[in-house]
Protein backbone atom coordinates (compact mmCIF):
# COMPACT_ATOMS: atom_id res chain seq x y z
CA UNK A 1 0.00 0.00 0.00
CA UNK A 2 1.56 3.29 -1.05
CA UNK A 3 -1.02 5.62 0.44
CA UNK A 4 -3.25 4.72 3.37
CA UNK A 5 -5.83 7.20 4.56
CA UNK A 6 -7.70 6.16 7.69
CA UNK A 7 -10.78 7.95 9.06
CA UNK A 8 -9.39 11.35 8.25
CA UNK A 9 -11.34 14.44 9.24
CA UNK A 10 -10.38 18.08 8.79
CA UNK A 11 -12.28 20.83 10.53
CA UNK A 12 -11.80 24.52 9.77
CA UNK A 13 -13.43 26.54 12.53
CA UNK A 14 -16.84 24.91 12.64
CA UNK A 15 -16.88 23.70 9.02
CA UNK A 16 -16.01 20.13 8.22
CA UNK A 17 -13.97 20.26 5.01
CA UNK A 18 -13.19 16.55 5.07
CA UNK A 19 -15.48 14.21 6.91
CA UNK A 20 -14.12 10.85 8.05
CA UNK A 21 -12.74 9.53 4.78
CA UNK A 22 -10.72 6.36 4.29
CA UNK A 23 -9.11 4.91 1.20
CA UNK A 24 -5.88 3.40 0.07
CA UNK A 25 -3.87 3.49 -3.11
CA UNK A 26 -1.73 0.62 -4.33
CA UNK A 27 1.73 1.04 -5.67
CA UNK A 28 1.66 1.90 -9.38
CA UNK A 29 -1.96 3.01 -9.49
CA UNK A 30 -3.23 6.26 -10.97
CA UNK A 31 -6.17 7.40 -8.92
CA UNK A 32 -8.43 10.28 -9.84
CA UNK A 33 -9.88 12.41 -7.14
CA UNK A 34 -13.08 13.85 -8.43
CA UNK A 35 -15.45 16.39 -6.97
CA UNK A 36 -17.01 19.80 -7.39
CA UNK A 37 -15.18 22.88 -6.14
CA UNK A 38 -15.05 22.97 -2.37
CA UNK A 39 -15.63 19.24 -2.02
CA UNK A 40 -12.48 18.76 0.03
CA UNK A 41 -10.12 17.57 -2.68
CA UNK A 42 -7.39 20.09 -2.03
CA UNK A 43 -7.69 19.73 1.73
CA UNK A 44 -7.30 15.97 1.45
CA UNK A 45 -4.25 16.37 -0.78
CA UNK A 46 -2.69 18.89 1.59
CA UNK A 47 -3.09 16.36 4.37
CA UNK A 48 -1.67 13.47 2.32
CA UNK A 49 1.43 15.52 1.56
CA UNK A 50 1.85 16.56 5.17
CA UNK A 51 1.39 20.25 4.48
CA UNK A 52 -1.49 20.30 6.89
CA UNK A 53 -2.17 17.79 9.66
CA UNK A 54 -5.63 16.20 9.86
CA UNK A 55 -7.91 17.09 12.79
CA UNK A 56 -8.28 13.36 13.39
CA UNK A 57 -7.34 10.15 11.64
CA UNK A 58 -4.04 8.91 10.25
CA UNK A 59 -2.28 8.95 6.90
CA UNK A 60 0.58 6.68 5.93
CA UNK A 61 2.85 7.15 2.94
CA UNK A 62 4.93 4.11 1.98
CA UNK A 63 4.35 2.81 5.50
CA UNK A 64 5.45 5.99 7.31
CA UNK A 65 3.01 8.11 9.27
CA UNK A 66 2.93 11.57 7.73
CA UNK A 67 2.86 13.27 11.15
CA UNK A 68 4.90 10.94 13.36
CA UNK A 69 7.53 10.08 10.76
CA UNK A 70 7.08 13.14 8.61
CA UNK A 71 10.64 13.50 7.30
CA UNK A 72 10.77 9.86 6.16
CA UNK A 73 7.29 9.97 4.69
CA UNK A 74 7.96 13.23 2.85
CA UNK A 75 10.95 11.68 1.08
CA UNK A 76 8.44 9.59 -0.88
CA UNK A 77 6.24 12.48 -1.96
CA UNK A 78 6.23 14.80 -4.93
CA UNK A 79 3.50 17.43 -4.71
CA UNK A 80 2.11 19.81 -7.26
CA UNK A 81 -0.29 22.15 -5.44
CA UNK A 82 -3.13 23.98 -7.18
CA UNK A 83 -0.82 26.92 -7.77
CA UNK A 84 2.68 25.67 -8.61
CA UNK A 85 5.09 26.66 -5.80
CA UNK A 86 7.57 28.65 -7.84
CA UNK A 87 10.18 31.21 -6.87
CA UNK A 88 9.45 33.71 -9.58
CA UNK A 89 12.83 35.46 -9.47
CA UNK A 90 14.82 32.31 -10.27
CA UNK A 91 15.62 30.71 -13.60
CA UNK A 92 14.06 27.34 -14.36
CA UNK A 93 17.41 25.60 -13.97
CA UNK A 94 18.34 27.31 -10.71
CA UNK A 95 14.91 26.58 -9.28
CA UNK A 96 15.07 22.90 -10.16
CA UNK A 97 18.60 22.67 -8.75
CA UNK A 98 17.27 24.17 -5.51
CA UNK A 99 14.51 21.56 -5.39
CA UNK A 100 17.14 18.84 -5.96
CA UNK A 101 18.88 19.98 -2.78
CA UNK A 102 15.61 20.08 -0.88
CA UNK A 103 14.76 16.56 -2.00
CA UNK A 104 18.19 15.28 -1.08
CA UNK A 105 19.39 14.41 -4.55
CA UNK A 106 23.14 13.71 -4.15
CA UNK A 107 25.34 16.54 -5.39
CA UNK A 108 26.98 14.54 -8.16
CA UNK A 109 23.57 13.58 -9.57
CA UNK A 110 22.09 17.05 -9.37
CA UNK A 111 22.93 18.13 -12.89
CA UNK A 112 21.78 14.92 -14.53
CA UNK A 113 18.55 14.99 -12.51
CA UNK A 114 17.77 18.53 -13.62
CA UNK A 115 18.52 17.59 -17.24
CA UNK A 116 16.34 14.53 -16.99
CA UNK A 117 13.24 16.27 -15.63
CA UNK A 118 13.69 19.14 -18.07
CA UNK A 119 13.56 16.58 -20.89
CA UNK A 120 10.70 14.69 -19.34
CA UNK A 121 8.32 17.62 -19.08
CA UNK A 122 9.59 19.51 -22.11
CA UNK A 123 11.30 22.59 -20.67
CA UNK A 124 14.39 22.58 -22.84
CA UNK A 125 13.59 25.84 -24.62
CA UNK A 126 13.06 27.80 -21.43
CA UNK A 127 15.63 26.33 -19.05
CA UNK A 128 17.62 29.55 -18.79
CA UNK A 129 14.60 31.84 -18.54
CA UNK A 130 13.36 33.51 -15.37
CA UNK A 131 10.20 31.80 -14.15
CA UNK A 132 8.33 35.08 -13.75
CA UNK A 133 8.38 35.57 -17.53
CA UNK A 134 7.05 32.13 -18.47
CA UNK A 135 3.56 31.44 -19.78
CA UNK A 136 1.07 29.70 -17.55
CA UNK A 137 1.54 26.40 -19.37
CA UNK A 138 5.27 26.46 -18.85
CA UNK A 139 4.87 27.44 -15.21
CA UNK A 140 2.64 24.42 -14.76
CA UNK A 141 5.33 22.25 -16.33
CA UNK A 142 7.97 23.65 -14.02
CA UNK A 143 5.59 22.77 -11.19
CA UNK A 144 5.31 19.24 -12.51
CA UNK A 145 9.09 19.01 -12.97
CA UNK A 146 9.54 20.09 -9.36
CA UNK A 147 7.20 17.33 -8.19
CA UNK A 148 9.02 14.50 -9.97
CA UNK A 149 12.51 15.47 -8.85
CA UNK A 150 14.13 12.76 -6.78
CA UNK A 151 11.85 10.09 -8.25
CA UNK A 152 9.30 10.06 -5.42
CA UNK A 153 7.12 6.95 -5.17
CA UNK A 154 3.99 9.01 -4.75
CA UNK A 155 2.95 11.95 -6.89
CA UNK A 156 0.14 14.14 -5.62
CA UNK A 157 -1.12 16.46 -8.35
CA UNK A 158 -3.79 19.02 -7.52
CA UNK A 159 -5.68 19.95 -10.69
CA UNK A 160 -2.63 19.62 -12.92
CA UNK A 161 -4.36 20.78 -16.10
CA UNK A 162 -6.42 23.67 -14.79
CA UNK A 163 -6.06 26.94 -16.70
CA UNK A 164 -4.16 25.51 -19.65
CA UNK A 165 -5.13 25.65 -23.31
CA UNK A 166 -6.32 22.44 -25.01
CA UNK A 167 -2.94 21.67 -26.56
CA UNK A 168 -1.13 22.14 -23.27
CA UNK A 169 -3.76 20.04 -21.49
CA UNK A 170 -3.13 17.17 -23.87
CA UNK A 171 0.61 17.47 -23.41
CA UNK A 172 0.40 17.54 -19.62
CA UNK A 173 -1.95 14.53 -19.68
CA UNK A 174 0.49 12.60 -21.83
CA UNK A 175 3.29 13.45 -19.41
CA UNK A 176 1.19 12.26 -16.47
CA UNK A 177 0.31 9.01 -18.25
CA UNK A 178 3.98 8.47 -18.91
CA UNK A 179 4.83 9.19 -15.28
CA UNK A 180 2.14 6.76 -14.18
CA UNK A 181 4.26 3.88 -15.47
CA UNK A 182 6.79 4.45 -12.70
CA UNK A 183 4.94 6.33 -9.97
CA UNK A 184 1.85 6.02 -7.84
CA UNK A 185 -0.23 9.03 -8.75
CA UNK A 186 -3.17 10.66 -7.09
CA UNK A 187 -4.59 13.57 -9.04
CA UNK A 188 -7.58 15.77 -8.45
CA UNK A 189 -9.72 17.32 -11.09
CA UNK A 190 -13.21 18.46 -11.84
CA UNK A 191 -12.84 17.60 -15.51
CA UNK A 192 -14.43 14.19 -16.01
CA UNK A 193 -13.00 13.04 -19.34
CA UNK A 194 -9.59 13.61 -17.84
CA UNK A 195 -10.26 10.93 -15.29
CA UNK A 196 -11.49 8.34 -17.78
CA UNK A 197 -8.48 9.16 -19.94
CA UNK A 198 -5.75 8.92 -17.34
CA UNK A 199 -6.91 7.09 -14.24
CA UNK A 200 -7.28 3.46 -13.27
CA UNK A 201 -9.58 4.23 -10.42
CA UNK A 202 -11.81 7.08 -9.33
CA UNK A 203 -12.65 8.39 -5.90
CA UNK A 204 -15.61 10.71 -6.01
CA UNK A 205 -15.89 13.11 -3.15
CA UNK A 206 -18.60 15.58 -2.30
CA UNK A 207 -19.06 17.82 0.72
CA UNK A 208 -16.07 16.20 2.38
CA UNK A 209 -17.38 12.65 2.05
CA UNK A 210 -16.45 9.85 -0.32
CA UNK A 211 -19.45 9.18 -2.51
CA UNK A 212 -17.99 6.40 -4.64
CA UNK A 213 -14.81 4.44 -5.23
CA UNK A 214 -14.49 2.27 -8.29
CA UNK A 215 -12.53 1.60 -11.42
CA UNK A 216 -13.28 4.09 -14.16
CA UNK A 217 -15.08 1.51 -16.32
CA UNK A 218 -17.10 -0.08 -13.55
CA UNK A 219 -18.31 3.22 -12.31
CA UNK A 220 -19.82 4.19 -15.62
CA UNK A 221 -21.12 0.68 -16.33
CA UNK A 222 -22.74 -0.38 -13.16
CA UNK A 223 -24.42 2.74 -12.06
CA UNK A 224 -27.82 1.72 -10.81
CA UNK A 225 -28.83 -1.79 -11.64
CA UNK A 226 -29.47 -1.60 -15.34
CA UNK A 227 -27.97 -1.74 -18.79
CA UNK A 228 -29.04 0.73 -21.37
CA UNK A 229 -29.41 0.38 -25.11
CA UNK A 230 -30.29 2.79 -27.82
CA UNK A 231 -32.25 1.64 -30.87
CA UNK A 232 -33.44 3.23 -34.07
CA UNK A 233 -36.45 1.34 -35.40
CA UNK A 234 -38.70 1.72 -38.45
CA UNK A 235 -42.31 1.14 -37.39
CA UNK A 236 -44.94 2.62 -35.12
CA UNK A 237 -44.64 3.67 -31.49
CA UNK A 238 -47.58 1.47 -30.40
CA UNK A 239 -46.22 -1.65 -32.05
CA UNK A 240 -42.82 -1.09 -30.47
CA UNK A 241 -44.22 -0.62 -27.00
CA UNK A 242 -46.37 -3.76 -27.16
CA UNK A 243 -43.39 -5.73 -28.44
CA UNK A 244 -41.11 -4.51 -25.68
CA UNK A 245 -43.76 -5.18 -23.03
CA UNK A 246 -43.76 -8.77 -24.23
CA UNK A 247 -40.10 -9.29 -23.37
CA UNK A 248 -39.15 -10.41 -19.86
CA UNK A 249 -36.52 -8.37 -18.10
CA UNK A 250 -37.12 -5.00 -19.71
CA UNK A 251 -37.27 -2.50 -16.92
CA UNK A 252 -38.07 0.66 -18.68
CA UNK A 253 -38.22 2.17 -22.12
CA UNK A 254 -38.86 5.46 -23.81
CA UNK A 255 -39.63 6.01 -27.46
CA UNK A 256 -39.65 9.14 -29.51
CA UNK A 257 -40.37 9.81 -33.16
CA UNK A 258 -37.41 11.01 -35.17
CA UNK A 259 -39.04 12.89 -38.01
CA UNK A 260 -35.79 13.57 -39.80
CA UNK A 261 -34.94 9.97 -40.49
CA UNK A 262 -38.55 8.85 -40.45
CA UNK A 263 -38.00 6.30 -37.71
CA UNK A 264 -38.37 5.93 -33.97
CA UNK A 265 -35.65 6.35 -31.32
CA UNK A 266 -35.99 3.95 -28.42
CA UNK A 267 -34.12 3.98 -25.10
CA UNK A 268 -34.29 0.62 -23.35
CA UNK A 269 -33.23 -0.23 -19.85
CA UNK A 270 -32.74 -3.87 -18.87
CA UNK A 271 -31.51 -5.93 -15.95
CA UNK A 272 -27.77 -6.14 -15.59
CA UNK A 273 -27.90 -9.91 -15.23
CA UNK A 274 -29.53 -10.72 -18.56
CA UNK A 275 -28.28 -9.89 -21.98
CA UNK A 276 -31.57 -9.29 -23.79
CA UNK A 277 -30.16 -8.13 -27.09
CA UNK A 278 -30.98 -11.38 -28.88
CA UNK A 279 -34.58 -11.42 -27.61
CA UNK A 280 -35.09 -7.82 -28.55
CA UNK A 281 -33.74 -8.43 -32.02
CA UNK A 282 -35.94 -11.47 -32.77
CA UNK A 283 -39.10 -10.03 -31.23
CA UNK A 284 -38.74 -6.91 -33.32
CA UNK A 285 -38.03 -8.99 -36.42
CA UNK A 286 -41.13 -11.09 -35.83
CA UNK A 287 -43.24 -7.94 -35.71
CA UNK A 288 -41.66 -6.70 -38.90
CA UNK A 289 -39.95 -3.87 -37.06
CA UNK A 290 -36.65 -3.08 -38.73
CA UNK A 291 -33.83 -2.20 -36.35
CA UNK A 292 -31.48 0.12 -38.20
CA UNK A 293 -29.31 1.01 -35.24
CA UNK A 294 -28.64 -0.84 -32.00
CA UNK A 295 -25.97 0.10 -29.50
CA UNK A 296 -25.28 -0.05 -25.77
CA UNK A 297 -25.27 3.26 -23.92
CA UNK A 298 -22.80 3.91 -21.16
CA UNK A 299 -23.51 6.52 -18.59
CA UNK A 300 -20.98 9.23 -19.15
CA UNK A 301 -18.88 10.21 -16.16
CA UNK A 302 -20.77 13.46 -16.20
CA UNK A 303 -24.02 11.63 -15.60
CA UNK A 304 -22.48 9.43 -12.95
CA UNK A 305 -21.00 12.44 -11.29
CA UNK A 306 -24.19 14.45 -11.28
CA UNK A 307 -26.14 11.47 -10.03
CA UNK A 308 -23.74 10.89 -7.22
CA UNK A 309 -23.25 14.45 -6.14
CA UNK A 310 -26.71 15.94 -6.42
CA UNK A 311 -29.10 14.71 -3.80
CA UNK A 312 -32.26 16.46 -4.98
CA UNK A 313 -33.61 13.40 -6.72
CA UNK A 314 -34.53 10.47 -4.54
CA UNK A 315 -33.82 7.98 -7.28
CA UNK A 316 -30.26 9.18 -7.60
CA UNK A 317 -29.63 8.75 -3.91
CA UNK A 318 -30.48 5.10 -4.22
CA UNK A 319 -27.92 4.73 -6.95
CA UNK A 320 -25.29 6.41 -4.87
CA UNK A 321 -25.99 4.06 -1.98
CA UNK A 322 -25.63 1.07 -4.23
CA UNK A 323 -22.30 2.24 -5.52
CA UNK A 324 -21.04 2.86 -2.08
CA UNK A 325 -22.06 -0.60 -0.93
CA UNK A 326 -20.44 -2.04 -3.99
CA UNK A 327 -17.20 -0.26 -3.16
Amino acid sequence: MMIEVNNVTKVYGNRKAVDNISFSVDSGEIVGFLGPNGAGKSSTMKMITGFMPPTSGTIKIAGYDIIEDSIKAKKHIGYLPEVPPLYLDMTVEAYLAFVCELKEVPNDKKKSTVDKVINEVGLKDVRKRIIKNLSKGYKQRVGLAQAIIGDPDVLVLDEPTVGLDPKQIKEIRDIIKELGKKHTIILSTHILPEVSMICDRVIIINKGKIVAVDSTENLTDTIGKSKRYFLKVIGSVEKISTTLKGINGIKNFKSKTDSKENCIDVDVETDVDHDLRKEIFFSFAKQNLAIIEFRPVNYSLEEVFLQLTTDEEVNDNENADNIQKGA
Binding site: T49, F51, K74, P81, M90, L102, Q146
Partner: protein, 235 residues
Protein backbone atom coordinates in the same frame (compact mmCIF):
# COMPACT_ATOMS: atom_id res chain seq x y z
CA UNK B 1 22.55 20.35 5.25
CA UNK B 2 19.11 21.71 4.43
CA UNK B 3 19.62 24.94 6.32
CA UNK B 4 22.39 25.81 3.90
CA UNK B 5 20.09 25.16 0.93
CA UNK B 6 17.54 27.61 2.25
CA UNK B 7 20.27 30.06 3.24
CA UNK B 8 21.83 30.08 -0.22
CA UNK B 9 18.54 30.54 -2.02
CA UNK B 10 17.47 33.33 0.30
CA UNK B 11 20.76 35.16 -0.01
CA UNK B 12 20.69 34.87 -3.81
CA UNK B 13 17.16 36.18 -3.80
CA UNK B 14 18.30 39.27 -1.85
CA UNK B 15 20.87 40.04 -4.48
CA UNK B 16 18.70 39.13 -7.49
CA UNK B 17 16.46 42.05 -6.58
CA UNK B 18 17.75 45.56 -5.92
CA UNK B 19 16.59 45.25 -2.30
CA UNK B 20 19.88 44.24 -0.68
CA UNK B 21 21.89 46.79 -2.66
CA UNK B 22 19.50 49.60 -1.81
CA UNK B 23 19.33 48.76 1.89
CA UNK B 24 23.06 48.23 2.36
CA UNK B 25 23.74 51.37 0.35
CA UNK B 26 21.28 53.41 2.37
CA UNK B 27 22.69 52.19 5.68
CA UNK B 28 26.23 53.04 4.59
CA UNK B 29 25.23 56.40 3.17
CA UNK B 30 23.63 57.58 6.42
CA UNK B 31 26.31 56.17 8.71
CA UNK B 32 29.03 57.52 6.41
CA UNK B 33 27.46 60.97 6.56
CA UNK B 34 27.35 60.89 10.38
CA UNK B 35 30.88 59.55 10.58
CA UNK B 36 32.24 62.28 8.33
CA UNK B 37 30.41 65.17 9.99
CA UNK B 38 31.22 63.94 13.50
CA UNK B 39 34.90 63.37 12.89
CA UNK B 40 35.35 66.57 10.92
CA UNK B 41 33.50 68.80 13.37
CA UNK B 42 34.88 67.36 16.63
CA UNK B 43 38.29 66.17 15.44
CA UNK B 44 37.89 63.15 17.80
CA UNK B 45 38.99 59.73 16.53
CA UNK B 46 35.83 58.14 17.94
CA UNK B 47 33.26 55.77 16.48
CA UNK B 48 30.71 55.56 19.28
CA UNK B 49 28.21 58.14 17.88
CA UNK B 50 28.35 56.37 14.53
CA UNK B 51 27.33 53.06 16.09
CA UNK B 52 24.36 54.77 17.71
CA UNK B 53 23.35 56.19 14.34
CA UNK B 54 23.79 52.91 12.51
CA UNK B 55 21.58 51.10 14.97
CA UNK B 56 18.98 53.84 14.79
CA UNK B 57 18.89 53.74 11.00
CA UNK B 58 18.83 49.95 11.01
CA UNK B 59 15.72 50.10 13.15
CA UNK B 60 13.96 51.52 10.10
CA UNK B 61 15.79 49.37 7.57
CA UNK B 62 15.55 45.95 9.25
CA UNK B 63 11.75 45.55 8.92
CA UNK B 64 12.13 46.13 5.17
CA UNK B 65 14.94 43.61 5.04
CA UNK B 66 13.02 40.92 6.90
CA UNK B 67 9.35 41.49 6.08
CA UNK B 68 9.24 39.21 3.05
CA UNK B 69 11.20 36.31 4.53
CA UNK B 70 8.27 34.12 5.50
CA UNK B 71 5.21 36.08 4.42
CA UNK B 72 6.25 35.89 0.76
CA UNK B 73 6.49 32.09 0.94
CA UNK B 74 2.94 31.95 2.23
CA UNK B 75 1.67 34.39 -0.37
CA UNK B 76 3.29 32.61 -3.34
CA UNK B 77 2.47 29.15 -2.04
CA UNK B 78 6.12 28.17 -2.04
CA UNK B 79 5.72 27.18 1.61
CA UNK B 80 3.83 24.21 0.17
CA UNK B 81 7.04 23.08 -1.48
CA UNK B 82 9.14 23.59 1.64
CA UNK B 83 6.68 22.01 4.06
CA UNK B 84 6.13 18.92 1.93
CA UNK B 85 9.86 18.37 1.43
CA UNK B 86 11.95 16.46 3.95
CA UNK B 87 12.92 19.70 5.66
CA UNK B 88 12.66 20.73 9.29
CA UNK B 89 10.93 24.03 10.02
CA UNK B 90 13.90 24.92 12.24
CA UNK B 91 16.25 24.60 9.26
CA UNK B 92 13.97 26.74 7.14
CA UNK B 93 13.68 29.56 9.70
CA UNK B 94 17.38 29.50 10.59
CA UNK B 95 18.43 29.50 6.93
CA UNK B 96 16.33 32.58 6.32
CA UNK B 97 17.48 34.25 9.52
CA UNK B 98 21.15 33.81 8.66
CA UNK B 99 20.60 35.06 5.11
CA UNK B 100 19.18 38.35 6.41
CA UNK B 101 21.92 38.51 9.02
CA UNK B 102 24.51 38.08 6.28
CA UNK B 103 23.19 41.08 4.36
CA UNK B 104 23.39 43.15 7.55
CA UNK B 105 26.87 41.85 8.37
CA UNK B 106 27.96 42.77 4.88
CA UNK B 107 27.15 46.41 5.52
CA UNK B 108 29.05 46.23 8.82
CA UNK B 109 32.04 44.75 7.05
CA UNK B 110 32.01 47.53 4.46
CA UNK B 111 31.74 50.08 7.27
CA UNK B 112 35.09 48.82 8.61
CA UNK B 113 36.45 51.42 6.24
CA UNK B 114 35.66 54.07 8.91
CA UNK B 115 38.04 52.75 11.58
CA UNK B 116 40.54 52.21 8.79
CA UNK B 117 40.41 55.95 8.03
CA UNK B 118 40.86 56.71 11.72
CA UNK B 119 43.86 54.41 11.83
CA UNK B 120 45.46 56.12 8.84
CA UNK B 121 44.98 59.69 10.05
CA UNK B 122 45.04 59.27 13.83
CA UNK B 123 45.58 56.92 16.74
CA UNK B 124 42.12 55.67 17.71
CA UNK B 125 41.46 53.50 20.77
CA UNK B 126 40.43 50.21 19.16
CA UNK B 127 38.84 48.79 22.34
CA UNK B 128 35.60 50.77 22.18
CA UNK B 129 35.53 50.36 18.40
CA UNK B 130 35.63 46.58 18.75
CA UNK B 131 32.96 46.46 21.47
CA UNK B 132 30.94 48.95 19.46
CA UNK B 133 30.97 46.64 16.46
CA UNK B 134 30.04 43.65 18.62
CA UNK B 135 27.17 45.64 20.10
CA UNK B 136 25.99 46.90 16.73
CA UNK B 137 26.11 43.39 15.33
CA UNK B 138 24.16 41.91 18.26
CA UNK B 139 21.60 44.69 18.19
CA UNK B 140 21.04 44.22 14.46
CA UNK B 141 20.84 40.46 14.91
CA UNK B 142 18.12 41.00 17.50
CA UNK B 143 16.25 43.37 15.16
CA UNK B 144 16.35 40.74 12.42
CA UNK B 145 15.03 38.07 14.79
CA UNK B 146 12.13 40.36 15.66
CA UNK B 147 11.61 41.07 11.94
CA UNK B 148 11.45 37.42 10.93
CA UNK B 149 8.99 36.81 13.74
CA UNK B 150 6.76 39.58 12.39
CA UNK B 151 7.06 38.09 8.91
CA UNK B 152 5.76 34.74 10.13
CA UNK B 153 2.56 36.31 11.43
CA UNK B 154 0.95 37.33 8.15
CA UNK B 155 1.17 36.67 4.44
CA UNK B 156 1.00 40.40 3.80
CA UNK B 157 4.54 41.76 3.58
CA UNK B 158 3.57 45.33 4.32
CA UNK B 159 1.72 44.38 7.49
CA UNK B 160 4.67 42.22 8.52
CA UNK B 161 6.92 45.24 8.06
CA UNK B 162 4.65 47.47 10.13
CA UNK B 163 4.39 44.89 12.93
CA UNK B 164 8.15 44.43 12.95
CA UNK B 165 8.75 48.15 13.12
CA UNK B 166 6.16 48.57 15.88
CA UNK B 167 7.83 45.96 18.06
CA UNK B 168 11.24 47.60 17.55
CA UNK B 169 9.80 51.00 18.35
CA UNK B 170 8.24 49.59 21.51
CA UNK B 171 11.63 48.27 22.65
CA UNK B 172 13.10 51.68 21.91
CA UNK B 173 10.45 53.59 23.83
CA UNK B 174 10.74 51.31 26.84
CA UNK B 175 14.21 52.68 27.44
CA UNK B 176 12.78 56.19 27.79
CA UNK B 177 10.44 54.89 30.47
CA UNK B 178 13.53 54.06 32.48
CA UNK B 179 13.93 57.75 33.18
CA UNK B 180 10.33 58.10 34.35
CA UNK B 181 10.27 55.17 36.76
CA UNK B 182 12.31 54.68 39.89
CA UNK B 183 13.45 51.75 42.00
CA UNK B 184 12.48 48.25 40.94
CA UNK B 185 10.41 49.43 37.98
CA UNK B 186 13.38 51.31 36.59
CA UNK B 187 15.53 48.24 37.14
CA UNK B 188 13.20 46.00 35.17
CA UNK B 189 12.77 48.48 32.34
CA UNK B 190 16.51 49.04 32.08
CA UNK B 191 17.07 45.32 32.00
CA UNK B 192 14.76 44.59 29.09
CA UNK B 193 15.71 47.69 27.15
CA UNK B 194 17.72 46.87 24.05
CA UNK B 195 19.07 50.42 23.98
CA UNK B 196 20.34 50.63 27.56
CA UNK B 197 22.60 47.66 27.07
CA UNK B 198 23.79 48.98 23.76
CA UNK B 199 25.21 52.03 25.56
CA UNK B 200 27.59 49.73 27.43
CA UNK B 201 29.01 48.39 24.18
CA UNK B 202 29.27 51.92 22.82
CA UNK B 203 31.28 52.99 25.85
CA UNK B 204 33.72 50.14 25.47
CA UNK B 205 32.25 47.84 28.14
CA UNK B 206 31.98 44.23 27.10
CA UNK B 207 30.09 42.19 29.67
CA UNK B 208 28.93 38.61 29.30
CA UNK B 209 25.66 39.69 30.83
CA UNK B 210 24.86 41.97 27.90
CA UNK B 211 25.95 39.48 25.27
CA UNK B 212 23.78 36.79 26.85
CA UNK B 213 20.87 39.21 26.93
CA UNK B 214 21.03 39.89 23.20
CA UNK B 215 21.53 36.21 22.41
CA UNK B 216 18.46 35.40 24.51
CA UNK B 217 16.36 37.93 22.63
CA UNK B 218 17.53 36.44 19.33
CA UNK B 219 16.91 32.85 20.37
CA UNK B 220 13.54 33.73 21.85
CA UNK B 221 12.20 35.38 18.68
CA UNK B 222 13.64 32.76 16.34
CA UNK B 223 12.11 30.04 18.50
CA UNK B 224 8.71 31.75 18.58
CA UNK B 225 8.90 32.11 14.79
CA UNK B 226 9.43 28.35 14.45
CA UNK B 227 6.45 27.77 16.73
CA UNK B 228 4.24 30.16 14.76
CA UNK B 229 5.12 28.53 11.43
CA UNK B 230 4.48 25.08 12.85
CA UNK B 231 1.25 26.04 14.61
CA UNK B 232 -0.20 27.72 11.54
CA UNK B 233 -0.58 24.36 9.83
CA UNK B 234 -2.75 23.06 12.63
CA UNK B 235 -5.27 25.86 12.59
Amino acid sequence: MKMLTIYKRELKSYFLSPLAYVLVGFLLLISGYFFATFVLSTQYALMSPVFGNMVFVFMFVSPILTMRLISEEMKNGTDQLLMTSPLRITDMVLGKYFAALTVYTLSLVISLIYPLYLKIYSKPDFGPILTGYIGTFLMGAAFIAIGIFASSLTENQLIAGVIGFSILLLFWIISWLGDVFQGTAKNIVDNISLLQRFNNFQNGVLSLNDVVFYLSVIIFFVFVTIMVVDKRRWS
